[in-house]
């Protein structure tokens, strides 16, 4: 049905603001983009239409600057059931079960209001997963803050952790892993990335589609208020220095309503009452409506007067762009509309039929029957311009990378080694995260076989006797110094963490946190990092099934480190083959797999002990990375190792000590000779102790089992060397290498490691309404 030509003046409630060049610019659209929009529409736009375009063509929804780069990522693999483009990616884990998973950022909202920002970030990613028909079984949070010496960083950490915790805890989804990195680069612009994993019977998988002319379109869940209007655009511009004036209405999360939505949605899907379902996330009703129509080549005709609202006098513009949380859009099977309503009522949820599916390819919005917006769906969703920019590496970075690191290569005394070791164990990036993860429910749902504190978390799967391992990783400092290598390492480290636990890495979701792509040096970082991720995902056979891009992460002109975060999932065919990361028993042999090179660039050692971020990051050989992963999986299948722990921040010395400290029955001392890994002797003292050469793992096996482990390693081309023996509680931690000796009680090191965060956070007042 086509109606008379639109009269923009008559369409919205109240005054229809005039669309001047200024108004267009405020909506984040360039003059060229506006020309293109006018061309598509062939007539003047209403303010509601401008709002819709502005949201859909924002970076957040339209991926203007990243789409061409993302297209280069490998997305195919035998296990991939659903690749990028849906609410979440899905892989097949056997026996008719799928795993749906995705990561999402909520950086800007968390900078403004950490508790609610993190909470609503969790809420959004949960909805992405359960709208696929999957029941969420785990949450991971990957966090970046400034130095904990600053009160603001402590405030942000406190609020974000409580926000992530309260949301998942209330709904009953365990938060079982993540990362927490502290660096002044994130002082003004923290990163809050949350990954959710769910399980779904594959025959129950549902997508965000709007098919079938005349089918009812329903708005479900919380009522719509003026929250976060222009949140999507907001996420795509850099923060003001004071943050205050451009502050949009903050979104407040309500996990209780989310829980109702979760249960009701899964019941609707299980009973096959729906055609499609989608979260009203960024850009709310606009993006959910337009995207659902676009996916099925249909149109949608809704009347916003029918939308349940929380505030009076809301305009169509506001209702279309509101980001009120805990809402979903669904298309019911027409014969089941009543049954759908019945289920929603039983769960005490609002449900309003606000429109119908059409076949005319239009996204049409009415107010009390009168059309206020009418936009062809295809160009709205697909014609968002994309930009391929020139990337040029910053000379500052080149200089930092090429700095001479000789002065940091050796230690004056044994005491200096011990001091460095203690500084590293006390560094918030390395120290125990207990203060964080004890605020998270980690055991609800009784699937958690391994929770936080290990290289990867492990969860029972419904599919017969199998388990899922997952980890999130990304190193901004490496990516800053050499973006391509940083991208590769993010993937390789995540895969290695998963493989250490005994699982075969399967697939990836990613969150690209970068500064403004309009800067040539940032665009360089972005394009290189994406290339690195692609190379590693291809080499490790872990395709990308989805992700999220968060750009403009800079405040007051100070960009964050480019920070790609990889969420990796893997499968253990037999949950009994899982491998813990810490030492198990006195007398066990300690081995190190992989090659130690003369690499200290970009290390936590340089940052924490010397206060510098210099040098090239460690190199990453993808063949070597792949061989190591194969070896770890074979070792797990053959029950050859009793523990395996990835060597990352802080290098070999820190990895060994973590293995001792985290022993499940209480810390175990050990002795180890680091020289055993320095085959060619060309490794500096600092690199031997604290260098972060990649593709290395500390393993332990029972006495005498080393031979079997070695022959597996040899067969797979992985260097493996015996470095020491596990002791008992009373044994001190005795390390030697490059002529230096350290002999400290493991309990003393444990105390440093455990107290680092609580000490810094002890005075934080967690105030929540």
């Amino acid at each position: 049905m086509t109606e008379a030509v639109l009269d923009p003046k008559a369409k919205s409630q109240g005054e229809e603001p005039e669309i001047t060049a200024e108004v267009v610019a405020e909506h984040g659209l360039s003059p060229e983009e506006w020309e293109q929009i006018l061309g598509i529409m062939g007539r003047p736009l209403t303010i509601a239409e401008l709002g819709i375009f502005s949201a859909m063509w924002s970076e957040h929804c339209g991926y203007k600057n990243s789409r061409p780069l993302l297209k280069t990522l490998p997305t195919e693999g035998a296990a991939v059931v659903q690749g990028p483009g849906e609410n979440a990616g899905v892989i097949d884990v056997g026996d008719g079960w799928g795993v749906a998973f995705k990561i999402e950022s909520h950086n800007h909202p968390s900078a403004v209001e950490p508790y609610q920002g993190a909470a609503t970030g969790s809420g959004g990613i949960l909805r992405d997963v359960f709208t696929m028909g999957a029941r969420p079984i785990a949450i991971f949070d990957s966090l970046r803050f400034g130095s904990l010496d600053s009160p603001r960083s402590r405030y942000l950490l406190d609020g974000v952790v409580r926000g992530v915790g309260d949301y998942g805890n209330c709904i009953g989804i365990p938060t079982v892993g993540g990362e927490t990195v502290f660096d002044p680069a994130y002082e003004r612009n923290p990163l809050v990335n949350v990954m959710c994993i769910g399980v779904v019977p594959l025959d129950q998988l549902i997508r965000g589609e709007a098919k079938g002319v005349g089918n009812p379109v329903m708005a479900v869940g919380a009522r719509t208020g003026r929250d976060g209007i222009h949140g999507a655009t907001f996420a795509s511009v850099e923060l003001d220095e004071d943050g205050a004036d451009s502050r949009p209405q903050v979104q407040v999360g309500d996990p209780f309503t989310e829980k109702l939505l979760l249960e009701a949605s899964l019941e609707l899907i299980e009973r096959d009452l729906l055609i499609g379902i989608q979260d009203m996330g960024a850009a709310g009703l606009t993006s959910s409506g337009a995207e659902m129509a676009a996916r099925s080549g249909s149109g949608i005709d809704i009347d916003v007067a029918l939308l349940p609202v929380r505030e009076e006098g809301m305009t169509p513009y506001e209702m279309l762009l509101s980001e009120s949380q805990e809402r979903m859009l669904l298309v019911a099977k027409p014969e089941h509309e009543e049954a759908v309503r019945e289920v929603l009522t039983r769960w005490d949820l609002q449900a309003a039929t606000i429109g119908r599916v059409t076949d005319d390819g239009m996204f049409r919005v009415r107010l009390d029957g009168k059309i206020v917006a009418e936009i062809p769906v295809d160009p709205l969703v697909d014609d968002c311009p994309t930009y391929v920019r020139d990337g040029i590496e910053s000379p500052d970075v080149i200089r930092a990378r090429e700095s001479d690191l000789d002065e940091y290569g050796s230690f004056e005394s044994d005491r200096a080694v011990q001091d460095a070791l203690e500084t590293l164990l006390d560094a918030p990036t390395i120290a125990s995260r207990r203060w964080i993860h004890e605020q998270y429910d980690t055991s609800v749902q009784t699937n958690t076989l391994v929770g936080p504190g290990s290289d990867a978390a492990i969860l029972r799967l419904p599919a017969g006797g199998r388990a899922l391992a997952a980890s999130t990783d990304g190193n901004g400092r490496y990516t800053y110094l050499e973006p391509r290598v940083g991208g590769r390492i993010a993937v390789a480290e995540a895969a290695r963490n998963v493989a250490c636990s005994g699982a075969r890495p399967m697939a990836v979701t990613n969150c690209l946190n970068f500064a403004s792509p309009l800067r040539t040096e940032v665009y360089y970082q972005l394009s290189e990092a994406v290339a690195g991720i692609g190379e590693a995902c291809s080499a490790l056979e872990t395709p990308v099934t989805g992700g999220n891009v968060s750009l403009y992460n800079e405040t007051g002109g100070k960009p964050i480190y480019p920070t790609p975060v990889i969420g990796m999932v893997g499968v253990l065919q037999d949950l009994e083959q899982r491998v813990p990361s810490a030492f198990q028993s006195p007398g066990d042999e300690i081995w190190v797999a992989g090659s130690t090179r003369d690499e200290i660039g970009g290390s936590e050692y340089l940052a924490a002990v010397h206060g510098v971020v210099l040098g090239p990051p460690p190199s990453l050989d993808l063949d070597e990375a792949k061989r190591l992963i194969d070896f770890l999986v074979v070792a797990a299948e053959g029950r050859l190792a009793r523990s395996a722990h990835d060597c990352s921040d802080g290098g070999l010395a820190v990895a060994l000590i973590e293995c001792g400290i985290q022993a499940s029955g209480g810390p175990l001392g050990f002795e180890a000779d680091l020289d055993a890994v320095s085959v060619d002797g060309n490794v500096s003292e600092a690199a031997l102790w604290f260098g972060e050469s990649q593709s290395r793992v500390v393993l332990s096996c029972s006495e005498g089992a080393g031979e079997a482990l070695s022959s597996a390693a040899k067969r797979l081309g992985v260097p493996l060397r015996r470095v020491g023996t596990v002791g008992d509680r009373a044994t001190s931690c005795r390390l030697q290498g490059s002529g230096h000796h350290v002999d400290v009680s493991i309990d003393a090191l444990h105390a440093i490691y455990e107290s680092a965060l609580p000490r810094r956070m002890s005075e934080q007042v967690g105030l929540t309404a």
């Binding site: 309260d166 805890n169 209330c170 009953g172 209780f256 005490d348």
Partner: protein, 245 residues
């Protein structure tokens, strides 16, 4: 034997309790919807953990008025075996089936980790399969688990052997360090005077499956099974294991 597991809209440990009963204990379980008035002839009622109504206002305050609670209260007052775990414990206090209240943790933060628990009374329908003084390792997961009550009430609970579980350290001592939430006298779980209503903050249902590597919580469920089996051969609820020091 059949367990009834009440499902409030925000219950989130209902499925865990279900698995503990069906897979861990090998008995029958049925969910009881909060809007229903039908107890489906169950032998034992479990009020599971979670955030029944978002825990707005106070944990358990609103759940107490759910339709099903009328029947639950009658069941409990008539001697029916009723177990409240975490949020269920909070609801039992709000519903005055147990004395005292659970308030925000002294540390003001949600806490989730294993705690040491000492079985203070192994002569109840819920603990008969444990040894007196046995030390268990069971997880907690709560933000409002600090047990408070008038001193006189606390004295009465102690004197009547109604403190059933206490937080203890590795040596079995109820130290301040072992108390995760500031609970009065390290109290983790209490029972009513009739011996048929038990509330506790830790989650025995999370450690009742072999595959999870810890079975310390299963004893609560086997105790209930054995109590019901014993009473079936005797003469009804009156024959339930008594309470007493």
């Amino acid at each position: 034997m059949k367990f009834g597991i009440v499902r409030f809209p925000g219950s989130n440990c209902d499925a865990d309790a279900y698995r503990a009963v069906t897979e861990g204990l090998g008995q029958e379980a049925e969910y009881l919807w909060h809007k229903s008035h039908d107890l489906a002839g169950v032998d034992v009622i479990i009020l599971p953990g979670g955030f029944s109504y978002g825990d707005h206002l106070r944990a358990g305050a609103i759940a107490r008025f759910s339709p099903i609670m009328k029947e639950v209260v009658e069941f409990a007052q008539g001697g029916g075996l009723t177990l409240g775990i975490c949020n269920g414990f909070q609801i039992l206090c709000e519903a005055h089936l147990l004395p005292g209240a659970l308030v925000r943790n002294a540390g003001l933060r949600f806490r989730c980790h294993d705690v040491g628990l000492r079985v203070e009374n192994a002569d109840t329908s819920f603990t008969r399969d444990y040894e007196q003084g046995q030390r268990l390792r069971i997880p907690i997961a709560h933000a409002e688990g600090q047990y408070v009550a008038e001193p006189a009430t606390l004295d009465e609970l102690e004197a009547e052997g109604r403190v059933v579980f206490r937080y203890v350290d590795a040596d079995g001592e109820p130290t301040a360090a072992a108390n995760p939430n500031g609970s009065a006298r390290n109290i983790a779980g209490i029972i009513n005077a009739g011996g048929n209503v038990l509330g506790l903050m830790p989650h025995p249902e999370r450690v009742a499956l072999e595959v999870l590597g810890n079975l310390d919580g299963l004893g609560v469920f086997t105790s209930l099974l054995h109590t019901v089996q014993a009473s079936a051969t005797a003469d009804g609820p009156a024959a339930l294991a008594g309470v007493g020091p």
